[in-house]
């Protein structure tokens, strides 16, 4: 796909996603029924869970493209990793700000060292380290490789850390969607969640494509062959 095509596709996806997010807000405020035990606060779940899903997807893409970059040394893979990590950091920030707001009402406390919360916070810091390494490197190529190493170390050790923390008792709600005997969520809640998942994923993919084509343009400007004006 050409850069122009990618920008167009990114814009379309991001706009579609934003419209979807608007619909999700309408659904979660006016359409979906209120959960009987957790009350009105449970509606934040339709933002929180999709943000979580999107940030894990983004971090997965970043780690995978980082590993492929170290292997194939294609600059485009590094640009993809950077774009995905940036999106992941944004959605992880949404997740760890909406989570405590809900936790205060449902659990009576903003923060608890519960496995999934801990996982998210550490993931956030791994991505933070990824950007610190990139921006503090004097040699850009070396910075890309070192940041890729940070992402891969994170991706390999985060499951281990998650397993370790799980050995302490978990306070997080049990899975209600992905489990062996099918979703146990009422139909309207499931619909809202699925629309929200779709909308957040579209927003992420749109932003990802826009960010990626921006990096392509930046690389083109920086390339010595076209830099006659500099």
């Amino acid at each position: 796909m050409s850069d122009r095509g990618m920008r167009r596709a990114g814009t379309v996806l991001a706009l579609l996603g934003l419209v979807g997010v608007g619909i999700v807000y309408w659904m979660s405020f006016f359409w979906v029924s209120t959960e009987i035990r957790q009350g009105i606060a449970q509606r934040i779940f339709y933002v929180h869970a999709p943000a979580a899903w999107t940030s894990f997807l983004a971090f997965g893409i970043a780690a995978l493209t980082s590993a492929m970059y170290l292997w194939l040394r294609d600059e485009r893979l590094d640009r993809a990793a950077l774009s995905a990590a940036e999106g992941g950091l944004a959605f992880a920030t949404i997740m760890i700000t909406t989570g405590p707001l809900w936790g205060k009402i449902a659990w009576g406390t903003y923060w608890t060292w519960e496995p999934r919360l801990t996982l998210t916070l550490l993931l956030w810091f791994v991505m933070f380290g990824y950007f610190m390494v990139r921006s503090a490197s004097e040699n850009p190529d070396k910075g890309k490789r070192m940041a890729a190493v940070v992402a891969i170390m994170g991706a390999c050790l985060i499951p281990f850390i998650h397993l370790s923390v799980i050995l302490f008792r978990s306070l997080h709600p049990e899975p209600v969607v992905v489990k062996p005997d099918g979703p146990s969520l009422p139909a309207d809640m499931l619909t809202t969640l699925m629309v929200s998942l779709g909308a957040f994923t579209l927003v992420f993919l749109g932003l990802f494509l826009l960010r990626y084509s921006l990096e392509n343009m930046r690389a083109e400007l920086d390339a010595p062959s076209t830099g006659t004006a500099r």
Binding site: L70, T118, L122, F125, V126, F128, G129, M132, V133, A136, S137, E138, N139, K142, G143, R145, M146, A148, V149, V150, I152, M153, G154, C156, L157, F160, I161, S164, V165
Partner: protein, 225 residues
């Protein structure tokens, strides 16, 4: 020279340098003793018994003191381009990593034992049910820490921020070491039987060996020019 001979040569070179300059060992040793002094004054012994919180303090001293030493792994060699010489030699990069990690491990383990001895001296700590398993736990914890620390010391040495970047990179991934290390240590110090902690010692060992393996694989991408 075989693979293990190459690792041995790097370990020997590092330890000889350390023995002659005594730079890192002196700083880490002084840190361990001074931290124990501050810890002693920081707790009101009419409220808490040192025995109850000693495990956490021991591991935190190892982590922070370890950062001081591990952060300077590539410091001496960065001068005069000495590290370029090592990289140009026909030694595989993973052997360089394992050698560096092993020499860091020997330094850190010496410091860890010093930390425990200082706590025994200043805070009246008793070694609990099994000093042998405690020593083994400290060894696995130190190994995981230096493996992670050596890899990221190479990363932070390549940035303009230097060692100040090291905690940001190391701490998030250090959680299992702290969880298993402190839980085993506090139970052993509390006189619990070895059978109760052996599972956690195994998990700690698994973590450390995983990190060591990942570091050996990824190190070449960090030092490559």
């Amino acid at each position: 020279m075989g693979y293990f001979g190459q690792i041995q040569a790097i370990v020997w070179k590092d330890l000889l340098l350390e023995f002659r300059t005594r730079e890192r060992l002196a700083v880490m040793g002084a840190f361990a003793v001074l931290a124990a002094i501050l810890f002693d004054f920081s707790m009101d012994k009419t409220v808490v018994r040192p025995q109850d919180i000693a495990a956490g303090l021991i591991w935190m001293t190892i982590v922070f003191g370890g950062l001081l030493g591990v952060g300077r792994t590539f410091h001496l060699e960065a001068q005069d381009g000495a590290f370029q010489g090592i990289l140009l030699s026909p030694v595989p990069k993973d052997a360089v990593f394992l050698g560096k990690t092993l020499s860091n491990f020997i330094l850190l383990y010496a410091m860890a034992l010093l930390v425990v001895a200082t706590f025994m001296l200043f805070l009246g700590l008793e070694l609990g049910s099994s000093p042998g398993v405690l020593a083994l736990t400290l060894a696995f914890g130190a190994l995981g820490f230096v493996a992670l620390g050596t890899l990221f010391a190479a990363v932070s040495a390549g940035t303009s921020m230097g060692e100040s970047l090291l905690p940001v990179l190391v701490f998030p991934l250090l959680v299992p070491m702290v969880i298993y290390g402190t839980s085993v240590t506090s139970r052993l110090l509390g006189g619990r039987p070895v059978s109760e902690v052996i599972g956690n010692v195994r998990m700690l060992a698994a973590f450390s060996i995983t990190v060591l393996f990942l570091g050996a694989v990824l190190f070449r991408f960090v030092v490559e020019e």
